[in-house]
């Protein structure tokens, strides 16, 4: 799935990233508000959905080599966080959808936790 499709499926606002970055492919995703768990349990996931807003979310994504961050429940990152994300080349999206719904939409459209599901 392309990041562009993640954005469309979640009816999300683009807060950081350009057209070229939206064309990047993502193969798996995870959702958590607990960065400790993201660091401990996540492997090779390129999208992180979270409702947590602080600079460590950006740094955690950067440490994990993720390429797309989605803030759920209408959470908005601060301008400092957006500029940090820009520095690391991360695409940042924000959606009004809640975590469960956002994850469900992406999962049922083929973006699972272990790579793209065959449809």
């Amino acid at each position: 799935m392309k990041i562009k499709e993640v954005k469309e499926l979640l009816d999300a606002e683009l807060l950081c990233g350009d057209e070229a970055e939206l064309e990047k492919d993502v193969y798996s995703a995870c959702g958590s508000d607990m960065m400790s768990d993201v660091l401990a349990y996540v492997k090779d996931q390129s999208v992180l959905l979270t409702g947590l807003v602080n600079p460590q979310v950006i740094r955690t994504a950067e440490m994990m080599d993720m390429i797309c961050l989605v803030f759920v429940r209408s959470k908005k990152p601060t301008p400092e966080m957006v500029s940090l994300a820009h520095e690391h080349g991360l695409v940042v999206l924000a959606t009004e959808k809640r975590m469960y719904e956002a994850c469900g939409i992406l999962y049922s459209n083929g973006l699972t936790s272990k790579g793209v599901k065959k449809r």
Binding site: S36, L39, A40, T50, L52, N54, P55, Q56, M63, M64
Partner: protein, 141 residues
């Protein structure tokens, strides 16, 4: 590289929002050296967890990194309260982090076990009231 390259990072413990900055710089340094991306990721996560720990528990500290042709060695040193029971601290889910840290998304008691998991060797030396030194090694080959 024939001689070991060294990097020094100060970890500021005053402000949680800056926690992780040293690890971001470390990761950039390793990329510039052309280290394998999977090894960089493992080393960066271990360093990041260690850095967060130093900020949460010890008001910061210092990180010294040495890279030679065989391994990345990371030494994290703080003058914090020390760890009274290292075996207990190594248990997954055991945490002494305060509630305000949990609300920031950390303090699940996964830091030290995670650091061990992502590295090839890890030693913890700690004296209560004096401080803690964590030494981690990640093999390059």
């Amino acid at each position: 590289m024939s001689e070991a390259l060294t990097f020094h990072f100060d970890v500021n413990g005053e402000d949680f929002t800056s926690a992780g900055q040293a690890s971001v710089r470390f990761k950039k340094n390793m990329r510039e050296l052309g280290v394998d991306p999977e090894i960089i990721r493992r080393a960066s996560i271990a360093m990041y967890e260690g850095e967060i720990n130093m900020v949460i528990h010890a008001h910061g500290g210092v990180a010294d990194v040495e890279v030679d042709e065989d391994a990345i060695k990371i030494v994290l040193k703080d003058r914090g309260p020390g760890i009274p029971d290292i075996a207990k601290a190594m248990q997954e889910g055991y945490s002494t982090a305060p509630d305000n840290i949990r609300s920031l998304g950390f303090g699940a008691g996964m830091g030290l076990p995670n650091m061990k998991r992502y590295t090839d060797e890890m030693q913890i030396e700690s004296t209560v009231g004096v401080g803690t030194t964590v030494t981690m090694k990640i093999n390059l080959n």
